[in-house]
Structure formats: structure tokens, C-alpha cells
Symmetry: C2
């Protein structure tokens, strides 16, 4: 039944997120994903293709989740950064998936179509913010996004969550606030 | 002879840097390091201990190299950041070693003694800069260092090296410049 198929895909993706986060792409094993999702390798290959394509599907899935749960807001990039920071802290496996992607694929967007489009949308949103004067326009919009994402993925050496949020908020605010002349 | 032993250690470390950068800790193979350095596994174990301890030695080595070639300067953190950015671009394997360290060990300083001390020295230098008013004191010194390192390791989506340096310099300057009241 279609309902079953959707649920099975979801279970496979959840298991794949955990497996790739722990072991990376080269180290991930499809038979472990099959076992953890109560599925089988043939079904995984049928639904998602090979292991690399399964990683693409995982990457697209987490990008969509992140966009839905933490939408970008060029009128309040410091607030966006704090929400993204909190989101990553609540889902540390997403940080690991990003790092595996960088190490094993050379960075976001080499393969995953949805991820590439999401980056492009976020850049456009920041660019529009620069045009209407909500975001300082000294730096290219794409690099402002890169800086914010990098800051939100920093492992801050302070144990206090309130201090961590202040650091993230302050750093991003200082970078993006339009200069007065 | 001692001279031979120093040269052999150096060759092993260079081969280990390349092997760990490519494959990570779990994926690295000591026999490949032996072959690439014209040495043998027994000698590697004798000099460095097991594979994890060899990674420690690699990490300590690159930290010392980085400190020597790019000394921190709290009176000019934006300039320091640009020099560090250039350094990482000229040695991309160092960025990969940092990422493997984060993925497989949970981040800098869990093992390597020299690396831990180097971080502590850099934090102290930034803290002293805050005390004498050269660095804004709103954020804890340790987190200022974390932000700078993170920014210098960002994969910026702009191909032009001059623009990249401007982005790094501007971002760090805005974060660390003392606010006027």
C-alpha cells in the first residue's frame, strides 16, 4: 500500500541519517541501515539507488527539515542564527552529516539537488535584505550566508547555553548590521 | 645515527599527515604510511606507538607548524585571521585533519597535549588583548578564538582570493573591534 511505502521510506531515511552521521559515506553499511529500519537491502536499492544516492536523499531530507524548522529571515539574521544554533545543538547528527559531506564530497551542493536549491534561495533572501538596507551590503550575500552557517556550526568553548547564544547573536549582528555613514 | 632517526621520523610524520588527511583515523592504514615513508610498521610503532598515538603526533606537529608560521597577534586579529586563512588555503590537508579530529574524536584537544596548550596560549593572548583594550571584551576570549578559527576554516563561495581575504578580514574586524561608547 502507498501508506506503507511512505512509512518504510521514512524508516529507512531515519536509519540512514544515524548510520551516515556515525560512519560517514565510505564507512556506512547498507545492511546495517536495512537491519535498523526493519527493511532489506533490495528495498533500499529500489527506493533510493546506491549508497551515494541514499546519502543524497538523506542530505536533501535534512536540508528540507532544517528549512522548514528554521526558515531564514534577512530582517533578523542574528535571531535566525540563534535559532539555527539551537537547532544544530538539538540535532548534532546534522553537524556530523555536514562534516562528512565536506570531507568525503568537498562540501554542500556537489550532489544533492534540493540542498543546492536551498542554498541558492537563502543567498537570494540575504541579497534582497541587502538591497532593502536590512543587511550590510559590504560583503557578497553568498559569503554572508557562508559566515553565518560557519558560526552556527562552531564548537564554542563555553558550557553555558545562554552565553553561547549571546556569542552567536553578537557575532552575526556585528557582521550583518548596516554601517551608518 | 640520531640524524637518520630524526629524518625518518619526519618522513613518517609527513606520510602520516597525508594518509590521515585523506582517510581519517579509522580509515588510515599504517602499512600505507610505512610504504610511503620508506619505513616499516615496526619502526612506526616503536617511534610513535599505536595509530591513535601517531595521530596525536601528527596533530601536535601541525599545531606547532601553524603556531610558528602564523603566530597570533591580539593587536591585529583581523590580520592574523587573513594570514591563517591563507595558511589553510595553502595546506588544505590541515583543514581535513581538523575535521577528522572533530568527527572521530569530538574536537581539538581531547588527546594532543601540545594542541591543548597552544589553544590555551591563544586564549590567554586574546584575553590580554581584551584587558588592554585592543580587543572588544563583550565576548569571552575563548569564544572569540573559536569564532576566528571557524571563520578562517569557512569554505567561502566566491572564487576571488582578494574578495575572500576581504570577507575574512571584515568579519573578524567587526567582531573584535572595541565598541566606542
Amino acid at each position: 500500500m502507498p501508506g506503507d511505502s511512505v512509512a518504510t521510506r521514512r524508516r529507512i531515511l531515519d536509519a540512514a541519517i544515524a548510520e551516515f552521521a556515525r560512519h560517514g559515506i565510505a564507512g556506512a553499511r547498507v545492511d546495517r541501515i536495512a537491519a535498523a529500519s526493519g527493511s532489506n537491502k533490495a528495498l533500499i536499492y529500489k527506493y533510493f539507488g546506491n549508497k551515494d544516492q541514499l546519502f543524497d536523499a538523506v542530505f536533501d531530507t535534512i536540508v528540507v527539515q532544517t528549512m522548514n524548522d528554521v526558515p531564514i529571515d534577512a530582517d533578523d539574521l542574528p535571531g535566525y542564527a540563534v535559532r539555527l544554533w539551537d537547532w544544530y545543538r538539538s540535532r548534532p547528527e546534522l553537524l556530523r552529516l555536514n562534516q562528512w559531506d565536506q570531507l568525503e564530497r568537498g562540501g554542500l551542493g556537489t550532489q544533492a539537488e534540493v540542498a543546492r536549491r536551498a542554498s541558492s534561495d537563502k543567498r537570494a533572501e540575504i541579497g534582497a535584505g541587502q538591497q532593502r538596507g536590512a543587511v550590510d551590503a559590504a560583503l557578497p550575500a553568498a559569503t554572508v550566508l557562508d559566515l553565518i552557517l560557519s558560526i552556527c556550526r562552531t564548537d564554542l568553548e563555553t558550557p553555558d547555553p545562554a552565553t553561547q547564544r549571546t556569542v552567536i547573536e553578537t557575532a552575526v549582528r556585528r557582521i550583518v548590521t548596516p554601517r551608518t555613514r
